[in-house]
């Protein structure tokens, strides 16, 4: 069978998505999928096109026990009250926010003040953050050798209140995101980086909206508004 034939590819992809391809034929197809980008595109086409058929299926509210089991498996414990670990310790988040914000601000200022002026910036990884209209908001550049991160606003204005944009790295191993700092809205900022950041395997970058000074918990607390892929420059 010539699996490169477009009509056969379209037909097999359709049957795969419908579910009528099974047994060895399904296994063989899944093997081909790993190697053939055109075939993957065909599968995406049918997944998107046939999806409205699910409107024919009546929704059913699942038993509450299923969510409880999922919550335990993702490490949420008893999420009925949606309490964070800091709340469970009896600490009051609103009173901690200003203190955490001031600490982060002092650290950020100290880092910027103490950083020697870079004589060069060799870009090893880059990313651009766009809004839904595909307007470029920030350019991000990473210099591994000098352990620097450059954050350049392109078309972004401050939020008009005390909240800020915070940049996060999404580790490739699925662990918690790592804060890369607050995103500037006026001038380009260069900040020092931790050597332990695994840029090569990262899943990308994300931007969340946080209270003044940045996330008080070390994890995103506000809505995630943008996401971007990281590109290796010169085969980094």
């Amino acid at each position: 069978m010539n699996y490169q034939h477009p009509e056969l590819q379209a037909s097999l992809a359709g049957e795969y998505v419908m579910g009528t391809l099974h047994g060895r034929a399904r296994q063989r197809f899944e093997h081909l999928l790993e190697e053939d980008a055109r075939l993957r595109e065909q599968v995406r086409y049918w997944q998107q096109r046939l999806h409205p058929l699910t409107d024919r299926i009546a929704p059913i509210v699942p038993p509450i026990s299923i969510w409880q089991q999922i919550a335990v498996r993702v490490g949420m414990g008893d999420e009925r009250e949606h309490r964070s670990w800091i709340q469970r310790l009896g600490l009051n988040i609103p009173t901690l926010w200003p203190a955490a914000g001031v600490c982060l601000l002092v650290i950020a200022i100290a880092v910027v003040m103490l950083l020697p002026r870079p004589v060069a910036f060799d870009v090893d990884y880059s990313a651009s953050i766009h809004n839904e209209q595909q307007q470029r908001l920030w350019d991000i550049a990473v210099d591994i050798q000098h352990q620097q991160l450059r954050l350049s606003p392109v078309a972004i204005t401050s939020r008009g209140d005390t909240s800020v944009y915070e940049l996060w790295l999404l580790p490739g191993d699925g662990t918690a995101p790592q804060s890369l700092g607050l995103l500037p809205t006026n001038d380009t900022v260069v900040i020092a980086l931790s050597a332990s950041i695994a840029w090569a395997t990262a899943n990308g970058l994300a931007v969340s909206i946080e209270p003044a000074g940045g996330s008080p918990t070390g994890l995103p607390t506000g809505p995630v508004v943008y996401q971007a892929a990281i590109t290796a420059v010169n085969g980094s």
Binding site: R44, Q48, A58, I60, V74, G204, V224
Partner: protein
Amino acid sequence: MDVNNRQLAEWLMACTLSDKRAFARLYTATSPKLYGILVALLKNRTDADEALQETYLNIWKNAASYNPERGEPMAWMSNIARFRALDLLRKQTTRRRYEDDYQQTVSHDDRQLLAIDEHSDGGVLENCIQRLQEQARRCVIMAYCEGYTHEELSHKLDAPIGTVKSWVRRSLKRLRECIHELSAP
């Protein structure tokens, strides 16, 4: 992308940052739809319960692989659920799904779908589905929504398996042509 889908996409993005509250909201908003799909496919509540758990764990772990440019969040999540159910179905050596006291949850009544916007993806697909011959249309809906294999369709529709395979293959070809025709600007 409409408001509802935009909200789902935001929650999915938040999941990539391990935002468990967003995940809880995503579950609340989408689990009835996904559970309905799983029950329709598996026809067995015990299997559907297990598949729903696995589906959401998969969504939680792989939220970063969702790309808004390649489709709506609900389609992405529904496909995770469907493939989970299809994997389970194909592994079953016994026909467990026929032993359960399953109640019909899939509509084969086309009249109730007339209210769909004819220019939406759903409207275009339904329009094209209506153009198929009745038996071929039933094959597509029963295979996609209820997970029937060629053999099971042959038995259900009392038609030779070769005929069923031909209905399915030709239906896909006609659907593709029709979607292309109706989606053209």
